[in-house]
């Protein structure tokens, strides 16, 4: 298992390196950020000075080599826009996104699994059909539209929840800042989390339903029933445990997606996380931030994959972790 983990980490390093090259050259090709950064009335000398101070007057290979040398020392460069270390900018914003993603994950699990199990146990009941139709909607409605509808309904019409932003009070739990310790924090996170969770919720519901349909016909469930166990015990112990494996796999991988693709939700709800930072940075071609962001996301995905593999082996003792030999 140790060898497996080490090998995985080495692969990750290679992926990060390739990715940094692709993104770096991609943003380099798109254009020159100074054209949108400088003031309209700046003269040519001023423009040249900005280009020089950002190091953009150098040829591509020099810029990239300089980036790599600094990156090896843990310095991913300074944001063109904010003149602060790109890594610091991202790490400052990461907790807000994590908070949102975790809230969304909780919503998908807490609602998705029971709904899926219910729909799987009684597939022909009207409520099951209702659940499954709902999940199709959850899959197919565009996030930005749902987000705006949520704001219109719950903030503008009903006035129950705040429309945008994150809770004011930040508490530190084991060094991580979170707004979720106050009611105000939850009232802010609820709408964006539901919006972000909608897609995952549908996925989990469908997975849980499919799993349940398969498992209820298995011999061990029939046997459990034949033994005269109560419905509760059959469902909660025998069915639930066995449908969890695919659900955990998908959720683990999807958590990375929640963090990486919270862009739309964060923009609509003005949530101060990394998704919003990324969109702003792409708009202004803030290359150091874009590159640093994607490097962190790649590392996150690699880490999550690893975690999923390990959880998998714990949940299903038949699975042994080993590399597929080339």
């Amino acid at each position: 298992m140790t060898v497996f983990i080490i090998r995985r980490l080495m692969q990750a390093a290679l992926v990060v390196l390739i990715m940094s090259f692709l993104v770096f050259s991609g943003v380099f090709l798109v254009g020159d950020p100074t054209e949108i950064l400088v003031a309209d009335d700046a003269d040519q000398a001023e423009r040249a000075a900005v280009i020089e101070s950002l190091g953009l007057d150098k040829p591509f290979h020099i810029q990239y080599l300089r980036f790599l040398t600094k990156a090896a020392e843990g310095d991913l460069g300074e944001s063109f826009v904010f003149n602060e270390p790109a890594l610091q900018l991202i790490l400052d914003r990461l907790p807000a996104t994590m908070e949102l993603a975790i809230a969304a994950l909780l919503i998908s699990i807490v609602f998705g699994i029971p709904l899926g199990v219910i729909a799987g146990l009684k597939p022909d009941a009207v409520y099951s059909k209702f659940i499954m139709t709902g999940s199709i909607l959850g899959f197919s409605l565009p996030t930005f539209w749902v987000g705006i509808m949520l704001i219109l309904l719950f903030s503008v019409q009903l006035g129950w929840l705040p429309s945008t932003g994150r809770g004011d009070e930040i508490h530190y739990v084991f060094g991580f800042p979170t707004s979720l310790l106050t009611l105000d924090g939850w009232s802010h996170v609820l709408l964006p989390a539901v919006n972000l969770a909608l897609f995952k919720l549908s996925a989990v519901t469908r997975l849980a339903r499919a799993g349940t349909r398969e498992v209820v016909h298995q011999d061990y469930v029939k046997f459990a029933r034949a033994k005269g166990l109560t419905d509760q015990r059959v469902i909660f112990v025998h069915v639930l445990k066995n449908i969890l494996i695919p659900v955990v796999t998908v959720l683990g991988l999807e958590f990375g997606g929640l963090v990486a693709f919270s862009v739309v939700t964060e923009t609509i709800f003005a949530w101060p996380g990394i998704g919003k930072l990324l969109i702003d940075s792409i708009g202004l071609l803030d290359r150091p931030v874009i590159v640093a962001y994607l490097m962190i996301i790649v590392l996150l995905f690699v880490f999550l994959n690893l975690m999923v593999d390990i959880c998998y082996s714990l949940l299903d003792p038949r699975v042994r972790l080993q590399d597929i030999k080339a």
Binding site: V30, G31, D32, P33, T34, E35, I36, L37, V38, A39, D40, D41, A42, D43, Q44, A45, E46, R47, A49, V50, S53, F80, V81, F82, N83, E84, L89, D92, R93, A96, G147, I148, I151, L152, S155, V156, G159, P162, S163, T164, G165, R166, T267, I268, F269, A270, P272, G273, K276, L277, D280, I282, G283, L284, L285
Partner: protein
Amino acid sequence: MSFIRRLGVTAVAMAALAGPAMAEDITIGIRSEPSSMDPYFHNLGPNNAMIGHVFARLVDFDSNQQLFPSIAESYKAIDDTTWEFKLRQGVKFHDGTDLTVDDVIYSFERADGYTGGNSSFRIYTKGKTLTKIDDHTLHISTEKPYPLMPNDLTTVMIMSSEAKGTGAPDTNKGIEASDFNDGTATMGSGPYKFVEWKKGDRIVLEKYEDYVGPLSQPWDKVTFRFIPSEPARVAALLAGDVDMIDNVPTSDIATLQKNKDVSLSDGVSNRVIYLHLDQWRDNSPFVTDKDGNPLDKNPLKDARVRKAISMMINRPAIVERVMEGVALPAGQLLPDGFFGRSPNLKPEKYDVAGAKKLLAEAGYPDGFGLTIHGPNDRYINDAKIAEAIGQLLSAAGIPTKVVTMPKNVYFSRASKGADGKPEFSFVLVGWGSGTGEASSPLKSLLATHDPDKGWGASNRGRHTDPKVDALIGEALATVDDAKRGQLLAEATDIAIGENQGIIPLHYQVNTWATRAGLTYNSRTDERTLAYDLKPAN
């Protein structure tokens, strides 16, 4: 809902206190987050607006970009090359220290020498020598007569020379942009104190009790929240989460007007949306014959062709349909009321028959093919304007393709393509006059492109006319206001009226929306300022 609740709470509290003024807090939802709180890091609209709450300037602009003295109590030109500024007595920085001429000189040194940053204020500080006469008297001299002195001084904000230690010898005085972002060095003398900046979320300011100066302080605590998404910003206002928003999308204006809980204020801005045409290449890459084959010469070099194109554009229709009525048709660089405008230039009339006649005169009776390039996320409805122009020209006999792209790709290609020259032939761009008068757009858009002189930096069509250059040069050295205004008007008459160096389309109108009971004094410089937001009697 929450607004009514808030009113109720206020009423109860007022009754209980009966006397001392109530704490009035205000939350403003704005589209763009500043990139720094360092006053000299980035000469950018959102920065200048936000930082201007905390750091005052010697001279400032009112909502119509008319000058008024701020830290300076009065100013005048004492001879052709020297201006005298008398500072207001009793102005204190937020840490309680006095503001003197030393602080002004310190601020200018840091602004002038700033290294790094994304466009410094050097264009406004260069060539100026500051001399201290006494603690409250300052002389600023230039080599040649320089009439725009007060205008330039509306840009540089004054910081305390003791904000963070005594300052290192380096050009930035040993203070990093981040020292301003966390409040360490954010020590100005403006009406509001900096409290905190939660990146991506909000900036909080607090009333400075000992403020001395002409700006008003209607609120005790001001929270600026950054809400870039258009519908979310409107929703935040409707939900009562914010008291005011800026940049109201044109598509929402009609609905908001009917809403009794919302009041709108709009005003024309200093930003003109215009078209620039390639006037320097003999073979322009995006000008073709009607079948898309290259032409042997560039018709856009002929002023008659440019005028014909201008006449094919139905400005009132664009304003009515595309801009939903929220814009003003333009005939020159600045709307009514600005300094240096020409009295002669009106928006070109929509006249297809006349345009065709002009085209025939110029030798293109059958027209030619064209491609218009424009951004799709920079100006209000920019992509839709480009499409409308494409359709108008195509209908009038110049088949026009429309290509729009995100601003981050567009501007670097429009200014310098692969070979360092503007890549496109026919571009849609906008220009806001930061100095509030005509010399800045004339110098940047219509003067001959000349990197050594620093002129024509945004002249993407490379319009050139020695007469115009001479007039601009003369105007920039004429201290007498009336005469300078005339020279600028004359330059505009030639550059736009005769040469059609650019084709002005419309002036943008900006809209702010507040909850009922508040009113915002709309500003031509597009800034969103807490002190211009007041309770409606």
